[in-house]
């Protein structure tokens, strides 16, 4: 494996995953031979991330905290090509979904994953799912501490945890180590925010009971400051309370957010704290050497401070307006001077958001090898990130990404749309998401116009389960089915950026599929007419309220 700077499996991890591959191979064999019924087999395949969707089986592959090596990404490309249709879909949980897997080949696919220390365990079912993190972790200029160290600790603790394998519902944890939350921690079952107190100590704010879906909720802070070494004890206490009191009688009321809502944050805090007191000095207390051993695996690459103003970059900026826009939207500050974080946009105009072909994955892996210490991140906004790029290499990276179709200067702009797979793939969906995203991104493709509109996040879900995070889109779009016709409900004012988490407000009656683009045009027009200097779309919305947007949209559609 190339010299990567993140966690590598130890013998225990490898044995666990290898055993699981062989167990699953035998389970598939028995199912195909008719020795297991579908009722018996379904929970076994779901435990390994294998869903049966509209057209085929879908394999959801865990990408721990969205961190990949180039070798792993190449393997994902190989699996996509060999066992699927040669492309994959990066998801809002930093995972990869392959939508055309054959059951008879699924064991070979997960065996191939194991070759590069990857698996699909706990990507389904009522267990603790892949812990997500800031996709700029370990590189961001504003970071207090690398959250992936803690994600890995959570991964090891939660993998096949016997007490938490049959929770009332699935359970999602996100961790950020920066004041600018890029991991949407307030809309997770548990969100953890690393911060430094007045004494200079770093600890966690523990936020519990957030979530999107049918009943969106912003999480409540149960602990303002939790010492880092007590993380697992506090998580265990929280999950134990949830396991004890979470509702199992109603699927739609089983998430921890409903429990927190029903008993109140104060009562939840009392219960968790009582449980926590009984175990805080137990074996769950993290020994410094344990944390240090994991932290060492995330040691930053050997970056030397370099020039921040590079003549070639400045010249290209003047000569190529698209490059200048790309620098503004797709390149973020790095903690080490002379370096930058580059986001490869998986949202070229008219393309399915978050999809990448095998060749494109291999191309990104090549670029990572040449320019980013073989590291890649998957963002929850369905893009790929090259975390450690020298500023002098930016022109070369821009050109290389451009050859892949991934250099669109649109990160954070109106065409950087989050979209779930929707009714084209998903058996839960009521309406399509991807074609709607494609129409919007085609209409607004002109980069100068996108940059004039500025930061505007559109998020599209094909059903109320909200995999496309529509509740927290500046413009949220939810597909609904009314008597067999696809309609789209629009909401405004959702946000997860800069710690200002808010849920969108529904604009009014849902609009027909062929009017969604016009509705977005009308919303943008209101903003452009009314914005003040420095206001983003969502800021103008907050100042004006919903009425002017409502009037313009329903006059237009």
């Amino acid at each position: 494996m190339p010299d990567t700077h993140f966690y590598r499996y130890d013998e225990y991890d490898r044995r666990l995953v290898a055993e699981r591959v062989e167990q699953f191979r035998d389970q598939v064999r028995r199912r195909l031979a008719g020795e297991l019924t579908e009722e018996q087999f379904k929970p076994l395949r779901l435990t390994n991330g294998l869903y049966l969707q509209l057209h085929a089986y879908m394999l959801r592959i865990a990408i721990p905290y969205g961190t990949l090596s180039s070798r792993q990404l190449r393997k994902l490309a190989e699996i996509a090509r060999k066992y699927d249709r040669g492309y994959g879909h990066f998801t809002t949980r930093q995972n990869l979904q392959l939508h055309w897997i054959k059951l008879e080949q699924a064991p070979d696919a997960i065996a191939a994953l194991a070759e590069v220390d990857m698996h699909s365990i706990q990507t389904s079912g009522n267990c603790v799912r892949n812990t997500t993190a800031d996709h700029f972790a370990g590189a961001a200029a504003d970071e207090i501490e690398d959250p992936r160290v803690w994600c890995e600790i959570v991964r090891q603790w939660s993998t096949l945890h016997p007490e938490f394998s049959f929770l009332p519902r699935k359970f999602k944890i996100a961790i950020t180590g920066s004041p600018n939350d890029r991991a949407a921690v307030r809309v997770h079952d548990i969100g953890l925010r690393l911060w430094r107190n007045d004494e200079g100590e770093v600890g966690f704010e523990v936020i519990v009971g957030g979530g999107l879906g049918r009943t969106p909720m912003i999480g409540k802070t149960l602990r303002e400051f939790l010492p880092r070494d007590e993380l697992l004890a506090y998580l265990e206490a929280t999950l134990r309370v949830y396991n004890r009191y979470g509702r199992r009688d109603n699927l739609f009321k089983a998430r921890i957010k409903i429990l927190v809502h029903e008993i109140g944050a104060e009562k939840m805090r009392e219960e968790v704290e009582a449980e926590y007191r009984s175990m805080k000095d137990s074996a769950l207390k993290l020994a410094p050497e344990t944390v240090e051993a994991i932290a060492r695996q995330f040691a930053p690459p050997p970056l030397r401070p370099g020039r921040t103003r590079v003549p070639e970059v400045e010249a290209l900026k003047l000569g190529d307006p698209d490059f200048a826009l790309w620098l503004k939207s797709n390149v973020a500050p790095h903690r080490v001077p002379g370096h930058a974080i580059v986001t490869a946009s998986l949202k070229p105009a008219g393309a399915p958001p978050g999809d990448a072909s095998a060749a494109q994955m291999e191309g990104v892996a090549d670029i990572a090898d040449m320019y980013s210490f073989s590291e890649i991140r998957v963002s929850h906004e369905q893009n790929l990130v090259l975390p450690h790029v020298a500023i002098e290499d930016l022109p070369a990276v821009y050109r290389a990404l451009g050859r892949l179709g991934f250099a669109e200067a649109n990160v954070g702009k109106i065409t950087d749309i989050i979209a779930c797979p929707g009714l084209d793939y998903c058996s839960l969906a009521n309406a399509r998401s991807i074609p709607v995203a494609q129409r919007i991104s085609t209409r607004f493709a002109a980069l100068a116009r996108q940059h004039d509109i500025g930061d505007l996040k559109i998020k599209i879900s094909g059903c109320i389960n909200a995999c496309g995070h529509h509740h927290v889109g500046h413009i949220g779009i939810l597909g609904v089915d009314k008597n067999g016709v696809e309609l789209y409900q629009i909401s405004l004012g959702g946000d997860v950026d800069f710690g200002q988490t808010s849920l969108g407000t529904i604009l009014g009656p849902a609009v027909p599929a062929d009017r969604v683009v016009e509705a977005v045009e009308a919303l943008v027009a209101v903003y452009l007419d009314a914005r003040r200097a420095g206001e983003r779309f969502v800021d103008t919305y907050r100042r004006l309220g919903i009425q002017p947007f409502k009037e313009r949209v329903y006059a237009a559609v």
């Binding site: 195909l32 579908e38 085929a56 059951l103 095998a358 050859r403």
Partner: protein, 104 residues
Amino acid sequence: MAKNLSGDLQIASANRLADGMVVFLDEAGQWTGRLDRAAVARDRRAAEILLERARVESFTVVDPFLVAVVEDEAGHIEPLSLREKIRASGLTFAAIAAEAVRYA
């Protein structure tokens, strides 16, 4: 199940066990990927029998169910719901081609 029986014409569908592919039960009791070969039940009783037959023939498929369809004058059938239209005919957009972009 009542919901599935609401249309006048029904066919039986499932996903093939080995690869998940969408299949339909034909007149001979075989599962086929071709919608135009699906056996059509023309009333409620026939639909119940068709579904029972699909369940009996379900060794190589997963969870058979009934799909409401319409039939044109030429005898071509099409599912009523968008979901089933998509199941029968595939994605409604062009997926990224595996080798459309070759990194040079």
